[in-house]
């Protein structure tokens, strides 16, 4: 049980990273990027196929590809949908994830094993080895959460980004480059997507369409952590990791595999009900 708990906390960093990317894009234009996890998967698969080895050039290539996919999608599709309902933009991100899955199946299925960027078993806590990639992920989430907090609260650009997310036209009138901010936001989230897939790959394995499993966990982490709360992605990621591994420990041997996805879905539903209500109340007030 204690080991399951520690394993969950260790996994939390990866889910937190995913959640961070989702939250970042959501804060920009209130769009949920349903392709977030697939951007990571496809860029890592593409980088492995180039065959430069995983560390460090493969990793750099993955992050660059992830950034490029996200920026191109933002510029070519999302920026042209300013006046569309948000649900249409969500459908467009579904289109992107389908496109990436299609490309993975058609061109990238040959991409084989991905080795961990840093080898070794990692430190041993309570008889459980925590893989270095998990530690990197945890550290990265903490750093990103902290960075975002400082960025939005302490820098002019961060405040400008917050203003642009609340009122794009108004922000444009006072001279805030909302378009550039959106492109940068998507680029950073693309890079984070690649990084999270990179760190998850040696532990969970990547293949065409494998983003879905990560997506629903990242989504749950983002919703649990809360979209506008400081350190939300970290907290949400840890919560999802713990739910995942503890429920796995308790139920899987008893003939109910994957019970954690059911628990996560129920968490999403319950939180959606409460969060959706507070959102409408805010809108009404």
């Amino acid at each position: 049980m204690a080991r399951a708990l520690i394993a969950g906390i260790a996994d939390g960093g990866i889910y937190g990273l995913l959640a961070f990317g989702l939250v970042l894009v959501y804060r920009d234009r209130r769009v949920v990027n349903l392709a977030q996890a697939e951007i990571g998967t496809s860029s890592v698969l593409a980088a492995t196929l180039i065959g430069v080895g995983m560390w460090p050039w493969g990793a750099i290539a993955s992050v660059a590809i992830g950034t490029a996919i996200a920026i191109i999608f933002e510029r070519v599709v999302v920026s042209r949908m300013e006046t569309s309902p948000r649900s249409s933009v969500t459908v467009a991100t579904i289109g992107l994830s389908l496109l990436l899955i299609g490309i993975e199946r058609k061109f990238l299925h040959g991409a084989a094993s991905i080795t961990a960027p840093i080898g070794g078993l990692g430190p041993k806590i309570l008889g459980y080895y925590i893989a270095p990639t998990r530690l990197i992920a945890l550290g990265l989430v903490v750093a990103l959460d902290l960075g975002l907090l400082v960025f939005t609260k302490r820098t002019r650009l961060g405040m400008a980004a917050t203003a642009a997310s609340e009122d794009r036209i108004g922000a444009g009138i006072v001279g805030i480059p909302a378009a550039a901010i959106s492109a940068i936001t998507w680029g950073v989230s693309g890079a984070i997507a690649a990084a999270s897939s990179l760190l998850a790959a040696p532990l969970f394995g990547l293949g065409p369409g494998s983003g879905t499993t990560f997506l629903v966990r990242g989504m749950a982490a983002a919703i649990i952590g809360g979209i506008d709360r400081p350190f939300g992605p970290l907290m949400g990621g840890l919560a999802v990791g713990v739910i995942d591994s503890v429920s796995g420990y308790l139920f899987v041997q008893k003939g109910f595999p994957g019970i954690s996805t059911v628990l996560l879905m129920m968490t999403i539903v319950i939180l959606s009900f409460t969060r959706a209500r507070t959102m409408t109340e805010k809108a009404a007030a």
Binding site: V91, A92, I94, M219, T261, M265
Partner: protein
């Protein structure tokens, strides 16, 4: 000639069909038919009800497992029982989704449906108690007597037959009051409830129907493949592609969806160079479609382009008589006692007591913000009073929802004009008669004579009313395209033919041209004695000329009654 064809055709078909329709091609087309059926089921909630569901692959999976377990385990029920079981299981799961959809807006529902899809795929479909667990479930082909549909071509014929059934149900759905209700609720739940269409229940109906369709489609797929496991209905191989098929094909209705499904599922398997391109092409097409379509995915194409002869402009002499439809019961009396509404330290209505005699016309006047519209909202149920009671039709209205109040005979108009802009004038007039159409949901979906008769009468009445209102030449124009005055006339016409006995009119004369105002005056005069009217209006001259009694609201309080004609 025709006889020779009849004689020659069967042997010819027998020779040609096996050559053209090989086992593998029949399987390919079978898969396409199943995808088309799944996309049709998704279309019901996506396009009619405006809810994007990422969980329809899982609904289909539930149907497949239900039918598979029924036909392969225990007493090994026949195929038809498996289909019925799949429809029931699918509709129950659809109902659960619908319960979420009626509460959750936009993206929150999308995320919930995504969670549902993944939870089904990764967990429930792997439980040994409910499915065959990880090894997957072998599903038998249907049999009739000693004939087993083992050949893929034979099964394809059966699948097409069932697909045609789903197609017809969808067609009946969209042309009956059920589909109209779903669309109305999606466009504007508040206005829909003012015509007696309950928003929550209607959305639930859409999901139940869609779930049953998805369940049958999934069962069809399972029996075709003879095998299902958790991966058969995975998020990325079913749920996502059918979103693309329904979104792209749905632009051209059911035919479009069928063509898109064939293009997605059959073409790459028939032509080797296309293999693996289907997801890429459909993804790009999906992105293109949503970027171009500013209105979003909801909203059906307008059907039926029949035109009606122009009938001149302006309301005819018959329009006012629409108000003279006789009622069996006497027109209702309405009594408000000490009604108070308070919102955030603001006393909007302060102990308002008002009694309106049956068949009389009462005008409420007052400054902006004096609580006039709030008073109408309290009567029609949109706002719950903090204190006080509303009595009408001999009963206390407390606890009745807006749509229930509409159903017992309270009709209303809105200051902002309560119409469905995306629907045609005719459909608006049909929605207004929704509660008069008494046929059951089953009758509507199966196109029974009772449904056809009722629909025909409603259509006829709608046309007559449109001509009377001077809208005879724009029955098939969407309400959005009407001028402001015509919209106002249409809204009033809708309330009149909804057979409401108590009319709550919120600034009915605003925006009407002189002839419209004259028509409104004569309509209200005709209504006197057969309907009870409460109207809110700024135009004092108009109020003076039509009302039996005028009450003045001042900061939520009722001022002394003022006699008609005084200033």
């Amino acid at each position: 000639m025709s006889i020779s064809i009849l004689v020659l055709a069967p042997p010819l078909l027998e020779r040609l069909v096996p050559k053209l329709l090989t086992q593998s091609r029949a399987l390919t087309f079978g898969i396409a038919v199943c995808f088309a059926a799944m996309a049709l089921s998704l279309n019901v909630v996506m396009r009619y009800a405006g809810r994007l569901s990422l969980g329809h692959g899982a609904l289909a999976g539930i149907g497949a497992f239900a039918s598979g377990m029924l036909t392969s385990r225990g007493p090994e029920f026949p195929f038809i029982a498996g289909l019925i079981g799949a429809a029931i299981a699918g509709s129950i799961a659809g109902a659960l989704m619908g319960l979420a959809a009626r509460r959750l807006q936009g993206i929150w529902f999308v995320l919930t449906s995504l969670g549902f899809a993944v939870a089904m795929e990764q967990s429930v479909f792997r439980w040994r108690a409910l499915t065959a667990g990880l090894p997957g479930l072998e599903i038998p082909r249907p049999r009739i007597g000693s004939f087993v549909f083992d050949g893929n071509g034979d099964y394809l014929g059966l699948a097409i037959l069932i697909f045609v059934g789903i197609w017809l149900i969808d067609a009946n759905l969209s042309s009956s009051k059920i589909g109209r209700g779903i669309r109305a609720v999606t466009i504007d739940p508040v206005v829909a409830s003012s015509f007696g269409v309950a928003p929550g229940r209607t959305i639930l109906h859409a999901f139940v129907i869609s779930g049953a369709m998805a369940g049958v489609a999934g069962a069809l797929f399972g029996h075709l493949l003879r095998f299902v496991d958790a991966g058969t209905f995975s998020y990325e191989s079913v749920s996502l592609p059918i979103v693309a098929i329904a979104a792209i094909g749905g632009l051209r209705g059911r035919i479009g969806i069928t063509i898109a499904a064939v293009a997605y599922a059959a073409l790459p398997r028939l032509f080797a160079p296309l293999r693996g391109w289907e997801l890429i092409v459909f993804a790009i097409a999906l992105i293109y479609v949503v970027t171009k379509d500013q209105a979003g995915l909801a909203g059906m194409r307008s059907r039926r382009k029949t035109s009606y002869a122009a009938d001149g402009r302006g309301p005819t002499a018959e329009w006012p008589t629409l108000a003279r439809r006789e009622f069996k019961e006497p027109a209702c009396q309405i009594v408000l006692t000490d009604v108070s509404v308070k919102r955030a330290d603001l006393q909007i209505l302060d102990q308002v007591s008002l009694s309106v005699d049956p068949g009389s016309i009462v005008g409420i006047v007052g400054l902006n913000g004096s609580g006039k519209t709030t008073l109408l909202n309290v009567i029609s149920g949109l706002i719950l009073p903090d204190a006080g009671t509303v009595f009408a039709f001999g009963r206390d209205l407390e606890g009745l929802s807006p749509s229930e109040r509409a159903s017992i005979g309270i009709g209303r108009t809105f200051e902002r004009i309560g119409l469905f802009p995306e629907m045609t004038v005719l459909d608006n007039l049909l929605i207004a008669q929704q509660r008069a159409l008494r046929y059951s949901m089953a009758a509507g979906l199966s196109y029974l004579p009772s449904m056809r008769r009722a629909e025909k009468m409603a259509r006829q009445r709608a046309n007559e009313a449109a001509i009377a209102a001077g809208l005879g030449d724009s029955v098939n124009v969407s309400a959005r395209q009407l001028s402001f005055g015509d919209k106002r006339m249409l809204e009033l016409t809708c309330v009149l033919i909804s057979d409401a006995q108590l009319l709550l009119l919120d600034e009915p004369a605003s925006g009407l041209a002189a002839d419209g105002r004259v028509a409104l005056e004569s309509m209200l005069t005709k209504a006197r004695g057969v309907r009870t009217v409460v109207l809110v209006e700024h135009n004092r001259a108009f109020v003076d000329s039509v009302c039996d009694r005028i009450v003045v609201l001042d900061s939520g309080r009722l001022a002394r009654p003022s006699p008609v004609g005084s200033e």
